[in-house]
């Protein structure tokens, strides 16, 4: 838990410039990631405000606070999943790199490519299941079990969209690694 402390050497490696269709896709993905990050920042601040409001409403205005927790959950779950691709682009999902020193650079490139492909395989499965869950929530009109009962397609939709972006980000990173023979890693 570094709380924003970035160490030298842990900063994301620069993605090598690639041209053509792949370059355009990388550019657009980066643009989408930055917009999503901005909206997630607002969601984070909104969650803080909603929870603060909850305390004020309950103790000073004596108003019931039955919606604040769920709104905060939706905002935070949404922000977390939607930022998955941005964090992947920055290589911010941490892994164990203890064996890195035991392999040659070529073997390390293969290892990292395997990691990306295995991660993409898992995330693709997870994304598919998230869309299925969203489909069910929409068709069945699922809501949360609280008295307020907001529709569940909201968080599920954010999960599905975020996971889809994450898969696309991974796919791009794999394609770049293949095209540049691993220089992206």
């Amino acid at each position: 838990m570094s709380h924003g402390v970035e160490l030298e050497g842990t900063k994301p490696s620069l993605t090598p410039k690639v041209g053509g269709v792949l370059g355009t896709l990388v550019h657009w993905q980066a643009k989408i990631n930055s917009y999503v990050l901005f909206v997630s920042m607002l969601a984070l601040l909104a969650a803080c405000l909603v929870l603060t409001l909850s305390v004020v409403m309950r103790y000073f205005l004596k108003w019931p606070t039955d919606w604040q927790d769920e709104v905060s959950v939706f905002l935070l779950v949404g922000a977390v999943f939607m930022c998955g691709a941005y964090v992947q682009a920055e290589r911010g999902h941490i892994g164990i790199s203890a064996l890195e020193g035991f392999f040659s650079p070529a073997a390390n490139r293969m290892r990292l490519l395997f990691c990306d492909i295995a991660s993409l395989a898992f995330c693709t499965f997870f994304t598919y299941k998230t869309w299925s869950m969203l489909h069910e929530a929409v068709v069945e009109g699922q809501t949360t079990s609280s008295t307020w009962g907001p529709p569940l397609w909201i968080p599920y939709g954010l999960m599905a969209a975020g996971m889809t972006l994450l898969c696309l980000q991974m796919l791009l990173q794999i394609l770049i690694a293949l095209k540049t023979k691993g220089a992206a890693n």
Binding site: M1, H3, G4, V5, L49, T52, D69, L76, R111, F114
Partner: protein
Amino acid sequence: MSVGIIGILYGLGTLLFMFSGMPIAFALGSIAVLFMFIFMPGSSLDTVTLNVYEEMANITLLSVPLFILKGAAIGKSRAGADLYLAIHAWMHKIPGGLGIANVFASALFAAMSGSSPATCSAIGSAGIPEMRARGYSPRFAAGIIAAGGTLGILLPPSIVMILFSVAAEQSLGRLFLAGIGPGILMVILFSGYAAFRYKKEYKEALDTYNQGGKKSAYLDAMRLTLYDKFRLLPRVVPFVTLLVGVMVALYGGFATPSETAGLGGILALCLIAVIYRMWRPSQLKPILSSTLKESTMLMFIIGMSLLYSYVMSYLHISQSAAESIVALSLSKWALLSVILLMVVVLGFFLPPVSIILMTAPIILPPLKAAGFDLIWFGVVMTIVMEMGLIHPPVGLNIFVIKNIAPDIPLKDIIWGVVPFVALMMFAVLLICIFPSIATGFPDAVYGLSTK
């Protein structure tokens, strides 16, 4: 296939995926899904995402990003340096006061930010140059800052404790309070060592000078005016008030942990806006983006760790492993020692979040059966994981120190933290002999624990 064999395969698979270098979250998710596919009914795969969502949509867990925001806001401002300078101004006359000021500043900053590396970075960037300018050895200066930073995951609001409370189904309020006594104990131990070390280094400097050697800065008297002492207080007092206010809101029954986190986040942003004029979008963007980056990484690990634990539980791996540990008929303290040793070894490779969530289903039932209070164990486990922050091979705080004081050789930093690792082991021993160091405070506030 027997549960034992499945369990061994699950463990080996996890090691293989993790050591391949895959991100921890995806490695845990992959192995869980793979075993669901092979050993569980097909319908279980349909609920993978629902399981992850339901575990993550826990309002207590979701206070994690908000506490991180509070920590990042304070950590990226000058609050740490000001806090250190203010405490130093008031303590400089005490023998070893400079070192002790670093420990106190680290403890207070850690309680405000909840982060070990952020504490190291904020206090260390002001404290290490000052200590070195005053003649302290680089080794000691680095060691005390690295160790002081570890208080960040022990003192409330500790993110590690939030996760432990969820994994062990224990009261978060009790856990937060249980961290305070051991936190104070470690502050006393670290301060005592700082005073001892000061006397030793002062004597060496004096001997060298008396023998005609170079005069160390140690021997220079330090004079601070009353103005120096009061100058920084207006900048520091609001943050200390925030720290106290957040605790009052939580324990006074005014706010739930998540509301406290939200309130803390907003107040921290307001304070840095008013005191340090950090309100422009360009100044807030790094705070918010680093919060989201860390929160996303952590919440993905948390979600997938919970899925991993669910599969372990469904396949009876965790229950069988727990039963096997109980069947070893180890004495109470041998059991604790084995488990803590395992936590230390896991700490070589994994962050505290994963250690807690992956091991809780296996280690907590035997500990409960042996009669250990899980609140007490949560504190002991946290201190042991804190050690992982300052000892190789991971030792995140060591690398933070290397980053802020690049001219101190890594070897010196590592040797500098060794006495503090020993002090932390001593603290664990004291807490084992006198459990009320941890449980006394929560018991006094909430009454005796029934769990």
